[in-house]
């Protein structure tokens, strides 16, 4: 029957409002338990 995904969505940072934010660029780890800290996303500094 699967599980209620709301806490998993919450841990992914997929907001409850329908505004979509990209979550994969700051994806810390496949599991909430091992997403202990934020990770440095890709960024770009012009010359």
């Amino acid at each position: 029957l699967g599980a209620d995904l709301s806490s998993m969505l919450h841990s992914l940072g997929i907001p409850r409002d329908s505004k979509r934010h990209k979550v994969l660029y700051t994806f810390q780890s496949p599991w909430a338990e091992t997403s202990r800290s934020e990770v440095e996303p890709r960024f770009f500094i012009p010359e």
Partner: protein
């Protein structure tokens, strides 16, 4: 020994990076000296040096104080590998040969460590190195390698970018959990890495999709192989939870990837993973507004979106398949002999073990059934732009009769496979969702079934219910069809014999 000398040279490199910034000129001088003095002058020395450096790094990871900087040496290797990717003139070997050699050394050192150490194998240093390579490359490639001042090199790297990910994906594919169970959790973390997954999803012209499909299918195959019906080991269920979360992330960021590849995913998804199935099939295009599926006066006919063709990343029945011609010929002129040919082609000569809900074996080629059903949907979608509504939404049309006859003539497992694959096409508003919901609704009350009617009704309702009794998300098309069936005056579900005999089903349907 030469190996010990390589240890010394590598240790010097590690110490250098602890004293100067990584773009300091002394790092270039150091690399030039390694080239001139034969440490990195040809493939053989390259292999031996990196083998020594890797073994030393993995060893030092194990020896270092876990609360300190455990990755100093590993990080130094990653930096050296990427610097060499940029700096070398690549006259005698190409960039991709170099990268292949380095990844081959990494793979072999890793495999030896994995096989020899057995349960004391620690995946983390190997993970960190591959994670660093993704990071370093991402830093380099920003704004089309604008950091590279030399134009010639910059152009070469820009061309190499695609190859970098091709080669990297090939090695990731070889490191998959079925092959290296001791690396499983690191592997799932790598394929969903923030510097890999979003890049593969968004490489120009979807050129990363094929490799990404391969890796996600490796993950599904691992789950399918080791999910047995009565018990799933704790570790496998944790892998599953990770996979579910990755798919949710993809569905949020790039739903079109799941939308256009749904066939391949359904072909490889363990049949009992209904919630993951729903996550994949509930993906909707980013710009789309979903009308409320329970709205009683919702009709797909009035929805402009239901005339749109869903994108499919490849044609399901490739020309190589033996059945493409008979199916296409049948759709032009339906004949019994063609039907026989198609039916014959669907049955397999040997059983497949399948952890299905309610079945363990499969004597038909379910992937072929899925390909035929989707192919019919694609043909209908194309015809829909030319032919009138009445020609296609018609129980006499060849499209409908082929599906009808496959079910009518088929064994109960073929009946179920065809129906549940049609249910898979009920997704967000598009012409496939619209037409297949017409077909299922028509079939549900069609008198042409004769004494098979109740069996077909049971299979259709089962194919819908199994997708709705699981936790959300639910595919929009399934919800719409089911709520229409509930309200349909031509059928009273509670009167159906298989509902009357099953109180738990009756208890679900009665309140609805």
């Amino acid at each position: 020994t030469r190996k010990e000398r390589y240890f010394l040279v590598f240790t010097e490199w590690v110490k250098l990076l602890q004293r100067v910034e990584t773009d300091d000129i002394s790092t270039l001088v150091f690399i030039r000296q390694m080239m001139e003095k034969g440490v990195l002058s040809n493939s053989d020395s390259l292999i031996e040096f990196f083998k020594a450096a890797l073994e030393l790094s993995v060893f030092s990871f194990k020896e270092s104080d876990p609360t300190g900087e455990v990755f100093t040496t590993i990080d130094a290797i990653g930096k050296l590998i990427t610097k060499l990717l940029v700096l070398q003139a690549f006259s005698d070997i190409s960039r991709s040969e170099y990268f292949n050699i380095v990844l081959s050394v990494i793979a072999v050192v890793f495999a030896k460590d994995h096989e020899q150490k057995y349960v004391t194998f620690n995946e983390r240093p190997h993970f960190r190195l591959l994670s660093n390579l993704l990071y370093e490359w991402e830093v380099l490639r920003g704004h089309d390698f604008i950091k590279i001042s030399d134009n010639q090199t910059r152009r070469e790297l820009s061309e190499f970018d695609q190859e970098f990910y091709d080669i990297f994906s090939t090695y990731l594919h070889s490191l998959q959990p079925i092959a290296f169970p001791g690396f499983s959790f690191a592997w799932v973390t790598l394929i969903s890495h923030r510097m890999f997954l979003p890049t593969m999803l968004r490489l120009p012209k979807k050129s990363g999709w094929k490799n990404l499909m391969l890796l996600l299918i490796d993950l599904l195959n691992f789950l399918d192989t080791y999910t047995s019906k009565n018990e799933v080991s704790n570790a496998v269920s944790v892998v599953y939870k990770g996979a579910l979360r990755v798919f949710l992330g993809i569905s949020n960021d790039n739903p079109e990837f799941l939308i256009e590849n749904h066939l391949e995913f359904m072909n490889n998804l363990p049949p009992s993973y209904f919630q993951l199935k729903n996550v994949i099939l509930s993906s909707i295009p980013k710009k789309m507004m979903l009308p409320n599926p329970y709205d009683s006066n919702l009709s797909m006919e009035k929805l402009p979106a239901c005339q749109e063709l869903p994108e499919v990343f490849y044609d399901p029945i490739s020309d190589s398949s033996t059945l493409k011609k008979p199916v296409d010929n049948y759709l032009r002129i339906p004949t019994n002999s063609l039907l026989r040919t198609i039916l014959h082609g669907i049955y397999k000569t040997e059983y497949d073990i399948k952890n299905g809900v309610g079945y363990d074996l499969l004597a038909i080629d379910s992937n072929l059934v899925r390909a035929i059903v989707l192919h019919i949907g694609i043909e209908v979608g194309l015809e829909n732009q030319k032919m009138p509504y009445s020609a296609l939404f018609n129980a006499k049309s060849a499209y409908y009769t082929l599906l009808f006859n496959l079910i009518h003539e088929g064994t109960v497992e073929l009946k179920y496979q065809v129906v549940q694959v049609m249910a898979e096409q009920l997704r967000y508003p598009n012409i496939h969702t619209y037409w297949f919901s017409y077909v299922l609704k028509t079939m549900l009350t069609s008198k042409d079934w004769g004494e098979q009617l109740v069996d077909i009704q049971e299979i259709i309702l089962r194919s819908l219910l199994e997708r709705l009794i699981v936790n959300k998300p639910h595919a929009w098309g399934i919800s719409v069809l089911f709520s229409q069936i509930i309200r349909d005056k031509n059928i009273n579900l509670l009167e159906l014999p298989f509902v009357k005999n099953l109180p738990e089903i009756k208890n679900i349907l009665a309140p609805l």
